[in-house]
């Protein structure tokens, strides 16, 4: 019954004490598996109720089929919107594979992840985006692929989500401002999208251009940053298995304030590298100047790798405040490459990381 109750709640009404903790989240996953595996009809009934409550498009969805244990259910993570329908982030994404990333980390609450956001297009206060992003429409959506590619093309959100099996990846997110969260993203490896895009040999960098919607983004009318917000990676960084195009959070679609419908997640770099609501991916030969590089060249470099030994003029980078710790937890020591050194350290072998900050 717990499951049904939770699905009926509005996220903003949920007390943080009620938010799915990692244990509950895991247990629920376990329960789903159990229900699927043994064909517990009662369990399946409850779960399909939840599916209805969460408004999964398309009647008996692949989600229901999966829950009932039909292994050959079609992998259609979400359906295209029907006429008059609007994007609802509180719907489960079907066919998501668990991954080993971040199994031992304490996940931050849904409430904290969705109410404490740096998304200047929706206001500069971290509580602004959750309120100001409400009218933003992330579906229908498509991303255009341009620049040094065999052929320029676009990909719709629905097709992006079908490109490869979606995975849940629990990543640490370290903000340049000295705080960190642990977030259960759902997404696909950026490498899969890059391969699909078929870049040419001239493509040395990949640039991400994000939404610049004057009607629904109050922040872009003031020149705080050079809009649209852009970010970029070196090709080998983009191809690293850790780099993720996230389309979901906590097993559901991305809320607007977290960068719906698709955003970049690069866990070994400071959070601002993760461009939100991507509209265009451009492959280029020369290193692009990103938005934050233009805004403060002495403060924000191209690489922006999490590095406790390279300080920022405003914030100490040697320690960080884990948001999950609350009021009295204090700080923890920041790890090189945010703890992902064994996966990405080789990308920067021989580079002076003080210079290439």
């Amino acid at each position: 019954m717990i499951i049904v109750n939770q699905s009926k709640q509005n996220p903003s009404d949920i007390q943080s004490s009620e938010i799915t903790s990692k244990t509950v989240f895991d247990n629920r996953r376990h329960f789903i598996k159990l229900a699927a595996g043994t064909g517990l009809l009662a369990g399946a009934g409850l779960l399909s109720l939840k599916a209805k409550a969460a408004n999964i498009a398309g009647g008996v969805t692949s989600g229901d089929a999966r829950l009932l244990g039909r292994a050959n259910a079609p992998a259609q993570p979400i359906a295209a919107l029907k006429k008059g329908e609007i994007y609802n982030p509180r719907q489960k994404i079907a066919g998501v594979k668990k991954s080993a990333y971040g199994k031992d980390l304490e996940i931050d609450t849904y409430k904290n992840i969705t109410t404490y956001n740096n998304y200047y297009e929706f206001g500069t206060d971290k509580s602004d985006p959750a309120v100001q992003a409400r009218t933003f429409q992330p579906q229908p959506w498509s991303i255009s692929i341009e620049g040094e590619v065999k052929k320029a093309k676009t990909i719709s959100l629905e097709n992006l989500m079908k490109l490869t099996t979606l995975e849940e990846r629990i990543y640490r997110m370290r903000c340049v401002e000295g705080w960190s969260m642990v977030i259960p993203w759902v997404g696909l490896p950026l490498a899969s999208l890059v391969k699909w895009a078929e870049p040419t040999g001239n493509a040395k960098y990949v640039e991400f251009v994000t939404a610049n919607d004057r009607d629904n983004m109050p922040g872009v009318s003031s020149p705080i940053l050079d809009w649209p917000y852009t970010e970029a990676l070196r090709m080998d960084e983009a191809m690293n298995p850790l780099a993720l195009i996230a389309v979901g959070l906590y097993g559901e679609l991305l809320p607007n304030q977290n960068g719906a419908p698709a955003r970049l997640v690069v866990p070994w770099k400071y959070g601002f590298k993760g461009g939100k609501s991507i509209v265009k991916i451009r492959f280029v030969e020369k290193m692009p100047r990103t938005t934050w590089m233009k805004a403060g060249p002495s403060e924000y470099g191209f690489y922006a790798n999490v590095n406790p030994k390279v300080d920022h003029p405003r914030w100490s980078q040697s320690t960080e405040r884990p948001i999950s710790g609350g009021l009295f937890s204090g700080r923890i020591r920041t790890k090189m490459f945010n703890g992902y050194e064994s996966e990405v350290g080789q990308l920067y072998a021989g580079m002076d990381l003080k210079k290439n900050f």
């Binding site: 109410t115 500069t124 003031s222 100490s316 320690t319 609350g326 009021l327 204090g330 700080r331």
Partner: protein, 197 residues
């Protein structure tokens, strides 16, 4: 203004000044401080210290503009409330933010102009707070006024401290900077006015 009225004004200041700190406790107990409660408290106490500083600096311009003198009698009280919130601000930093990690704090103060400026401002308020009583006023005589002129420097440092915190949207600290400039402007204007005979 008679003595009773001053008492009324002072009581009102006390009541108003207790609101921000009471609100923090209320929000703390009702889970209302948001995802980063430490940052929330740091920003809130810092803001209120700055507000009390600005309000205390408004008393002299009011006297200059209106010719009234009563507000000078509440100036020290307002200054002490600024000190109260500055103390909460720095306690939050030392305890809740850095959890007494002194090596990290020393590094933070020395390496980040923002923290250095804020720290300097706080140190400078201590002698002012200690001498904000009648006994010290009488003891220091004319030196008291000279000492308490440090408040102008503190105000500049506090606004710079705020300006350096903000990543890109400077609107809010600019409001404080504008208020400070206005208050300084009024003082300077009256200073260079020919004295009435």
């Amino acid at each position: 203004m008679n003595k009773n009225r001053i008492i009324v004004v002072k009581s009102i200041i006390w009541l108003l000044a207790l609101i921000p700190v009471s609100r923090l406790f209320w929000l703390g107990f009702t889970n209302g401080l948001g995802a980063n409660p430490v940052e929330f408290i740091e920003h809130s106490t810092g803001t209120w210290a700055l507000v009390f500083l600005m309000v205390s600096l408004t008393m002299t311009p009011i006297r200059l503009l209106t010719g009234q003198v009563w507000q000078i009698q509440v100036r020290r009280l307002l200054g002490l409330w600024m000190f109260f919130y500055a103390c909460l601000h720095i306690t939050t930093y030392v305890w809740l933010d850095f959890n007494f990690l002194f090596d990290e704090m020393v590094k933070d103060v020395l390496e980040h102009p923002r923290i250095l400026v804020g720290f300097a401002a706080f140190i400078l308020t201590i002698p002012l707070a200690i001498t904000s009583n009648n006994v010290m006023m009488r003891k220091l005589k004319s030196k008291w006024k000279t000492l308490h002129k440090t408040v102008y420097l503190i105000a500049i440092l506090a606004v710079v401290h705020f300006l350096l915190l903000v990543k890109k949207d400077l609107t809010e600290p600019f409001y404080y900077a504008a208020v400070l400039l206005l208050l300084f402007g009024i003082r300077i204007y009256f200073k260079y006015q020919p004295k009435k005979v």
